[in-house]
């Protein structure tokens, strides 16, 4: 080891790593450049010319979606981090580095700061200051991360050997060469418990030992950087941001195993990684760290790069070797293992990039440096690329054993309140889909395997409600089928047959028995394929079948893709999102042609309450409207309200109702009882009576309508509109029996024996309790109960100061009703406004009317005097980390407040009142919801259930959607036929695509101004005029015009 010294490189490196003057660095990885880092860098250089400011490049700090990341350096101060920096901000950054005041001001907008950094092979203190700026690891995305492999990434210049050495780089190699025998190197790696990071998790030390035992004149170490796994890119970043760590790891490994040659196999899609790695190799060679007599020792080694030409199977080691030999990359059976006979027939050891990158620290700082992180069986960290439907995307490195929910909801911060996360896909085409209810699982080799997935190389793709699990399986199988090398039959034939079945499922051509065939093929592949590609290719299928079988069945039986991905299974996205599957493009087009009757008929066949629902719906249709990508979604619901209002006003609905009566099917002599005359019960009755059945609805109240009558206030839905629409049921011959309650006036057993089918549509009307002291005081009312009492005229005059607790629609309905009754109303909610579940429109209305809102307040105690409420005590909350609903979890603070009041409405959700069914054998969930078959609605025998009683509090449209589905199933069971489609009518209308549409925002209907809403229950929204309705209908982009569109009920 003669006179070799790293010192001069380290000294030089430190000058730029921790500069003595002001400096600025730009995240200059592929992600950064894709977001404009190159322009930013040039602008900074220009702005800094003539000054003493050092402008430098760094690798990627991992927060890829926030790139380009900029770091500002000032001596004795922490590094300041700025995200999404633009070239236009260059002058500002440079100015701030020259002017302390400007910098203090700029610091307020910083993403975070770095006061000190643990490079693992050394530690560095940058400075103190800017107390108001959070430390980098307090940023949610970085909280809980442990940067062991990414120790230098984003901080050092990847093209500078000096900077790498200045943070302790190559000290591991120096120690190995100067003070360790090769066996000792392997022993330390073994003791560290390092396992292969390519996916399979084989202990690295053991693998190295096997290789070391094979003596030969030529021995090879290879780095697998053919990251072919779609959705994973950490290896790219590791090489781009810190190529020397890979070099050092491979050199140490080669020394330990006695290898003479090294090859890095990088995919050609990573040009920047190849360029930087080549530079690192050249620089190391010049410095005597590579080549002959490395660091003055007797160890010789050279390294070459092979750029792979794009074949996923080359991730398999024997295939990679074939490819490196210049052949097509087809795997061969093992044994012989590469350690015995590998590249050019010589002993060869292959490890993944990340495995190699762990090695320098293990040797420099000892095995405990790794073993002290992670779990006993899986030590150290793993880098994941967290991508897909999640707020924060990028590279996360966390200790093995971290739970999936910490990653998805903690670092990723969920998907926002509007979308629900369904699953995470780990391990790419070889991995599996893990459902959201298993997110407690720890991420380590064994736990993921138990769930049917694998860790893989580290892809982690988050999927939400708009992702179809059948499509995910189909996507991966089409990938592996295309990438199969074709050498072994199970893989070549099995995958193409699996793909055929999956294609059939996603186009509605499959049968249920195909699922068994799919599963059988998947297991065959798992048993009989030649290499890792085939052995794991069925994981995406098997896991989706295991966790999302219901979704497969819905594709096959109902021919529906709820996520709206499988295009052959729906007419248009609005239709698919509508729980009633209204053929929306149809009535929009008909209205556009001036065919009002036809438009109304199309509407009413799909939804018998078009006027009422057009007023109060959540408008699921708008949530997926493609027009939104242009300006705003089409207001489909407002249009069917217009159709209904106009027809009723002219009395022209009668003719269409008459048509429906005339086409009623021949009497079937089957008697059906429906319990509950809310939206669900009414919808079921509408379809069942038209199918020829004898339908009786039993209702506890004196009139029909359920929540439409007794929950929703008249200023949203005038009762005469509802009364008008309900005449249709009488016209069709549905029988109503009022004032009869199940369990009191009616016995389920008796109904079941005297009717052919009994349908429970009892809703979810039990108010959830607050669970705090004082709830029994006079003046404290559960929300839904109070609304109902008011509707029945039994509520009594409320006190002067009313306090509503809750943030849903019931809370807002109660608040606005109280306001109209002359109370001063305050709404208290435990989260923020944007986290409120109430309709935005209702919320705005309430604010306009002068209702006071207090956020971040959690009730703790209701105070009373003489048995009556006088005030409520609240704990002040603050926003914590994301919870599974995608909203920040409210966390208690020290502070509390008291709000005086005379009346309290507790509207914190509703539950299904199902205690009376406890001993009936009906499947019931813990929270009281009835649990029928999700497709037919069948509970047991001739008993069915629909609506909120099944889903818990949901929307009226969802309740009616389930009713429709169930009516079809009941008819099919009672009559052994499928006559449902005959209840609908196909209209012919214009099928040309609209000309280039001009930007036009949604038409707004006229509203009664807030000043005129006081003390009355007059309807606020006055609906569209004819011109507005036609104009709005013309905004539709007509997604239904395509060859594979499927009408909803055929």
């Amino acid at each position: 080891m003669s006179d070799f010294s790293l010192q001069k490189y380290a000294t030089r490196g430190l000058k730029t790593l921790k500069p003595s003057g002001p400096a600025i660095s730009v995240g200059y990885g592929t992600c950064g450049i894709g977001n404009g880092a190159d322009e930013l860098f040039a602008a900074l250089q220009k702005a800094a010319s003539g000054s003493k400011i050092l402008v430098k490049k760094a690798g990627c700090f991992g927060f890829c979606a926030e790139e380009p990341l900029v770091m500002l350096y000032l001596p004795k101060k922490p590094i300041l981090l700025f995200s999404k920096a633009k070239a236009s901000m260059a002058a500002k950054f440079i100015k701030a580095l020259e002017d302390e005041k400007a910098l203090d001001k700029l610091a307020k907008t910083a993403l975070g700061k770095i006061s000190r950094w643990n490079f693992r092979t050394s530690e560095l203190v940058f400075g103190e200051g800017w107390d108001a700026v959070r430390e980098w690891n307090e940023i949610p995305f970085f909280k809980g991360q442990e940067k062991f492999v990414l120790r230098n990434c984003g901080l050092i210049d990847p093209e500078s050997l000096d900077e790498y050495v200045s943070v302790g780089g190559y000290t591991g190699l120096y120690r190995a060469l100067s003070a360790m025998k090769p066996e000792a190197v392997i022993d330390e790696v073994k003791a560290s418990n390092l396992r292969g990071r390519g996916g399979a998790g084989f202990p690295t030390g053991i693998k190295w030992k096997l290789m070391a035992q094979n003596k030969a004149a030529e021995k090879y170490v290879i780095c697998n950087a053919d990251e072919g796994d779609p959705g994973a890119y950490m290896n790219r970043n590791e090489i781009e941001s810190d190529p020397h760590m890979l070099l050092e790891g491979m050199l140490i490994g080669a020394y330990g195993m006695g290898a003479t040659h090294a090859i890095v196999y990088v995919r050609a899609e990573y040009p920047l990684a190849i360029k930087r790695l080549q530079k690192a190799i050249d620089d190391a060679r010049k410095a005597g760290i590579l080549g002959k007599n490395i660091m003055g020792s007797s160890f010789n080694m050279d390294m070459q790069i092979v750029s792979g030409a794009g074949a996923f199977v080359c991730g398999e080691e024997t295939a990679l070797i074939a490819s490196a030999e210049g052949k097509a990359g087809r795997p061969i059976p093992r044994p012989p293992f590469p350690a015995q006979k590998g590249y050019r027939g010589m002993p060869t050891n292959i490890n993944n990039v990340e495995t190699w990158c762990n090695v320098p620290v293990i040797i420099a700082k000892g095995p405990d440096s790794l073993r002290s992180i992670g779990t006993e069986k899986s030590s150290g960290t793993k880098v994941f690329s967290l991508v897909g439907k999640v707020r924060n995307t990028g590279l996360v490195e966390m200790p093995l054993g971290t739970s999936l929910s910490e990653i998805v909801y903690g670092m990723g911060e969920g998907a926002g309140a509007k979308k629900k996360i369904r699953a995470v896909q780990t391990g790419g085409p070889s991995g599996g889909c893990i459902p959201a209810d298993s997110f407690k699982a720890k991420v380590d080799y064994e736990s993921l395997a138990e769930l049917g997935a694998i860790m893989g190389s580290g892809g982690m793709v988050v999927m939400d409600q708009d992702n179809c699990m059948v499509d995910v399986a189909r996507y991966f199988v089409s990938f592996t089928a295309a990438e199969s090398c074709g050498k072994c039959t199970p893989c070549r034939e099995g995958l193409s047959q699996m793909l055929r079945i999956l294609n059939n499922i996603s186009t509605g051509k499959a049968e249920l028995k195909d699922l068994d065939e799919l599963e059988r093929l998947a297991w065959t592949l798992k048993d009989a394929a030649l290499c890792g590609l085939g052995l794991t290719a069925s994981n995406p299928v098997l896991t989706t079948l295991q966790y999302f079988r219901e979704e497969y069945e819905k594709h096959i039986i109902q021919k529906r893709c709820e996520a709206g991905v499988c295009e052959d299974l729906f007419e248009a996205l609005c239709e698919n999102s509508c729980p009633l599957h209204m053929n929306i493009p149809s009535y929009l087009a008909l209205l556009g042609e001036g065919r009002l009757e036809d438009a109304f008929e199309s509407t009413v066949r799909d939804n018998p309450l078009p006027g009422s629902m057009g007023r109060i719906c959540h408008f699921h249709c708008q949530m997926r409207c493609r027009r939104e990508t242009m300006d705003e979604p089409v207001s489909q619901g407002e249009i069917h309200r217009y159709l209904a209002d106009t027809m009723y006003k002219m009395g022209r609905e009668q003719a269409i109702w008459k048509t429906l009566v005339q086409e009623k099917k021949k009497a079937t002599e089957r008697k059906i009882a429906i319990i509950g005359a809310g939206p669900a019960g009414l919808a079921a009755a509408f379809y069942l009576v038209r199918l020829g059945h004898d339908v009786t609805i039993y209702e506890g109240h004196a009139e029909a309508g359920g929540i439409l009558r007794y929950g929703i206030p008249a200023y949203r839905l005038p009762k005469d509109v509802l009364d008008k629409e309900l005449q249709l049921w009488d016209t069709l011959g549905v029988k109503f029996v009022f004032n009869k309650r199940l369990g009191k006036d009616l016995q389920l057993k008796n109904l079941q024996s005297s009717f052919d089918a009994v349908l429970l549509a009892i809703g979810a009307q039990g108010d959830r309790k607050l669970g705090i002291p004082g709830e029994d005081l006079a003046g404290v009312h559960p929300g839904y109960e109070w609304l109902e009492a008011y509707a029945l005229g039994k509520a009594g005059k409320p006190g002067k100061r009313a306090l509503v607790i809750g943030g849903g629609n019931v809370a807002i309905d109660a608040a606005r009703t109280l306001q109209r009754l002359d109370s001063e109303v305050t709404v208290a909610y435990r989260r923020t406004r944007s986290d409120m579940p109430a309709n935005e429109h209702e919320l705005q209305g309430a604010e306009e009317e002068g209702i006071r809102f207090e956020y971040m307040l959690q009730p703790e105690k209701i105070n009373g005097k003489d048995g009556r409420v006088v005030s409520v005590e609240f704990r002040v909350m603050k926003a914590g980390g994301m919870d599974t609903s995608g909203r920040p979890r409210p966390v208690a603070t020290e502070r509390s407040v008291v709000i005086p009041c005379d009346e309290v409405i507790a509207a914190v959700g509703e539950v299904v009142e199902s205690a009376q069914f406890a001993k009936s054998g009906i499947p019931i969930a813990k929270d009281g919801r009835l649990q029928p078959n999700p497709i037919t609605g069948k509970l047991l025998d001739n008993l069915y259930a629909i609506g909120d009683a099944v889903t818990g509090p949901a929307t009226a449209a969802e309740a009616m959607g389930l009713a429709k589905q169930c009516a079809r199933a009941i008819d099919s069971e009672l009559m052994n036929r499928d006559a449902f489609a005959t209840l609908f009518r196909e209209f012919a209308y214009d099928m040309t695509i609209p000309e280039e549409p001009k930007t036009a925002r949604q038409c707004r209907s006229r509203q009664v101004p807030p000043g005129q809403r006081q003390a009355n229950f007059q309807e606020i929204a006055l609906g569209y005029s004819g011109d507005q309705a036609r104009q709005e209908a013309a905004r539709c982009l007509r997604c239904d015009i395509r060859n594979n569109a499927r009408s909803p009920w055929r």
């Binding site: 979606a65 994973a232 092979v306 794009g310 490819s323 439907k389 995307t393 990508t629």
Partner: protein, 200 residues
């Protein structure tokens, strides 16, 4: 933008014209001069790569990169076999195995749609369909053909398994420029800008 909805209104279908029939066994050389030029290039590459790992792969990659239409012609493959001494069958096997190699001439501009998992979950299929609609091949199916080139050789649309830019999904590369979090509207304007520049 609106034409995107349509399946068929985006102009006449532009099918690929099949390559003119070649004489069996003989390179498709237009003249001896270009053949000798090509041979010289291959000889230089072969000398540069001799003995290196993955030599054949590197020769083919570099040869394709230098080609005007970024492809490996039959003549080129035959010459590689001749000059390197590898069996033609092996050269052909390598050229057809890896997705990087094109056996058909590529357009002047390449639109590469990433079909990685992150991009797929964020709607890259719609982007691919949009690009194909715009360029007159609405019936393109990615599982049947790896790429599509317009008859005027201005555009080639292809897919890639993953760019490794997953955090910015969906991603489309147009020539060397990478567009992250791209929408169909943006993709259309990029295509139109190129058309304008090329005066089509």
């Amino acid at each position: 933008m609106q034409k995107s909805v349509s399946s068929g209104s985006a102009g006449p279908k532009a099918r690929k014209t099949p390559n003119p029939k070649k004489k069996a066994g003989k390179p498709e050389s237009a003249n001896a001069e270009s053949t000798s030029k090509l041979a010289a290039v291959i000889k230089a590459l072969a000398a540069e790569q001799e003995g290196k790992p993955g030599a054949l792969l590197s020769i083919l990659e570099k040869l394709q990169d230098q080609d005007q239409f970024r492809h490996l012609s039959e003549e080129a493959l035959r010459l590689v076999a001749e000059i390197t001494g590898e069996a033609l069958s092996r050269v052909y096997s390598v050229a057809t195995f890896y997705s990087y190699f094109n056996l058909k001439p590529q357009g002047k501009h390449t639109i590469t749609v990433c079909r990685g998992t992150a991009c797929h979950t964020r709607g890259s299929l719609a982007l691919l369909q949009e690009a194909m609609n715009q360029l007159g091949e609405p019936d393109f199916r990615e599982d049947e053909e790896p790429s599509f080139t317009t008859s005027d050789k201005l555009f080639t649309v292809r897919t890639v398994a993953c760019f490794g830019q997953c955090a910015l999904a969906p991603v489309v590369a147009v020539d060397e420029t990478i567009y992250s979090s791209i929408s169909t509207t943006r993709l259309c304007s990029v295509i139109n800008a190129i058309r304008k520049e090329e005066k089509v």
